[in-house]
Symmetry: C2
Subunit: 406 residues, 2 copies
């Protein structure tokens, strides 16, 4: 018998949990005829929770989804790539509503049960008629296998689709959690910083689900950065349809902790995939900070290093420039004593007590050539730790972002 709390990674994505199906179809929003419209559907009404961008400028679909998630339940999520429906003026909200209405009508569910997300260019009206025309095909092709197509349909400048799923043994049942995400560019630790859709067959109320999601997002998606920009459309949404048949997971129970760990595992895996796939990136960077006087100081320190353009460019150039790490720690806002900080690049100590140490340059270059590049910082100023993820800054980042719209 498997012990409660054990979990294992499984293949699949948003359709791994019982009672979910998905599809991805071309609606003609992307220039080629690749899939650009994804649909996720739950056979049964599901508890819903969401975390959204902190950007003051919020896209219309995000506003609609936030309202509907706040009501507590949902059954479907429709997502288009190619157009963000952001900064589209008074047309934005009615267009998002129309997208949802087409899905509700085709599925025969209430329109309030449909959540909406969009990603792509900002400031161009959504060609909503293309979307509504493609919705019947999206509904018709819903099945268990199309999770991969759905994860491809939400990609913009992403190079690879991003899916992950785990099974968690709670006390009397096995629950499954699956997810898909898109990232690339505009990835920054300021709340849900990309699109991510998570499904689970666990029975859990929306309040407990929201608490678990908020905490998991803070330790995963909010700890990644690609370029410091926070998008107008970012969201993480989770649907829990109860099809696992477990007794409802209550806040602060043992089952809740097991479920949370599984949810965090899915969020962390997807967040790292997003960081690794940052625009133009060649390598994932993981910065581990320990010895901070508070969790917030640890977060600030780890995110500052992984977000420093100078450090990111040094990683691209395989230059063991630890001064840039210490410098980024120094302006992070974290409280610590610079004269105590130790810094390691992989297994090579490059600074001790805030100053230089002799080190093997060749070995450090080797550590900077690995993927991921692992940085370890001990502030020796307290007992808190944090980990942040990012990517190197490359010629390709400039190329991609110099010509995204045109």
């Amino acid at each position: 018998m498997t012990e409660a709390g054990a979990y294992k990674n499984i293949l699949g994505g948003v359709t791994a949990p019982r009672g979910f199906s998905a599809s991805g179809v071309p609606a003609g929003l992307k220039k080629d005829s690749k899939p650009d419209l994804a649909l996720i559907y739950s056979e049964a009404p599901a508890s819903a929770a969401g975390v959204y961008t902190t950007n003051l400028v919020k896209a219309a679909p995000l506003e609609l989804t936030r309202q509907r998630v706040a009501a507590g339940t949902a059954r479907a999520v429709i997502v288009n790539a190619g157009n963000a429906n952001a900064c589209t003026g008074e047309r934005g909200l009615p267009d998002a509503v129309e997208m949802a209405r087409a899905v509700a009508s085709s599925l025969g569910i209430a329109e309030e049960e449909v959540l909406v997300a969009s990603t792509g260019v900002i400031g161009v009206p959504l060609p909503v008629e293309k979307i509504t025309a493609a919705v019947p095909q999206a509904v018709a092709s819903l099945n268990k296998e199309n999770h991969a197509l759905a994860s491809r349909a939400i990609m913009t400048t992403d190079l690879v689709p991003k899916e992950f799923a785990v099974q968690v043994h709670i006390k009397k049942s096995v629950v499954t959690i699956g997810g898909m995400a898109k990232g690339s560019g505009m990835i920054h630790p300021n709340m849900a910083t990309m699109l991510c859709f998570i499904t689970t067959d666990a029975a859990i109320g929306s309040e407990a689900l929201q608490t678990a999601l908020k905490r998991a997002v803070d330790r995963s998606f909010n700890m990644i950065t690609v370029d410091g920009d926070t998008s107008t459309n970012d969201m993480v949404v989770v649907l829990a349809n109860g099809q696992a048949g477990n007794p409802e997971i209550k806040l602060d129970s043992e089952d809740y902790r097991f479920f949370y760990e599984g949810l965090l595992e899915v969020c962390t895996a997807l967040a790292k995939m997003i960081a690794r796939d940052g625009e133009g990136a060649t390598r994932l960077i993981e910065v581990n900070v320990t010895g901070a006087p508070s969790r917030q100081d640890a977060n600030l320190a780890a995110r500052s290093v992984v977000g420093s353009n100078l450090f990111k460019a040094a990683v691209f150039g395989k230059d063991a420039n630890w001064g840039r790490i210490l410098c980024a720690l120094g302006y992070s806002g974290a409280v610590f004593d610079p004269a105590r900080a130790d810094i390691f690049i992989g297994d090579v100590q490059v600074a001790k007590d805030g100053g230089a140490v002799e080190f093997d340059e060749e070995r450090a270059t080797e550590m900077l050539s690995q993927d991921p590049v692992i940085i370890f910082v001990d502030l020796k100023s307290g007992a808190y730790s944090a980990t942040a993820w990012g990517c190197d800054l490359t010629y390709d980042y400039v190329r991609i972002n110099g010509s995204y719209r045109t």
Copy 2:
């Protein structure tokens, strides 16, 4: 007779004011034999004021200079490029003291009258013996003409030397203010964000001088950004030696306001030169924000746009992607109503009330090809304005910073 308050730009730099001389000599810290040691000298004791980096990690010379400026007077500034004497452990401060002592001894002044600054690589002990060996030559070559050599000696990855000077008519005299600066990389709005040395022959007490400098720095150097990193060594220092013979300028007098305007002119000109010369930059970007509910909101908004990697890369690519401007405003922390914001690229309105307007793409591309690129944002949410400066993000930024140390 010229009206009080009038000022004019003049040629020259730190030796333009009466009673100042300068030199720039090679001490062997840079790999070639270019000048890397600059000296500024005032015949008479001068009031001193300074503004320093907010980075928690502070270089030893900065700590020494801060102490000495706090005492209120100084007569010389010695600056080396090629080594920052930062994160150099217990050796850092004695090395900075020794640099100053060599200058004091050679000039026959008190060592406490010598300020010290360093710029270059972090974490490598300062080769102080090379510097002290070159000090006699630096002293021997002090004269009025060598301001240009001094401004070259403090360059690191800067492509051009940066000098500026103005003459200000105050009530009964003409005072001159001159300055030199180095920037490039690590330029960010968080206090003195590079090295800048300003001289003036005005008679003004150190308290009034400090007040004027702080205010001028907030509106110039603190409004530029190249890559968001704040260095360990940044400082702006001003020396006022009273050789103009004017009655001492008192805080809040009319003369004080005239002097402040001249000082701001010097600071702004040097700050823009630094932004224009950001690593790899091809064009200066100026972002004007108006209609903000407070000066702080205006500052946040302007700096956020000019600091956005996505927007900077779009300028490089001449892509009129106004959505990135609105997005950067949205996450700036400034309070405003996104549904009211108007955005102009040069003379082309690209967004109105937070949404798209029809515009001439060709004309917008033309505006994005100019130097400087001028962005104008009206938040229509209040009466405050601010201007920030930065540069585009280019392939060369990545190339330079991928291989700075090696």
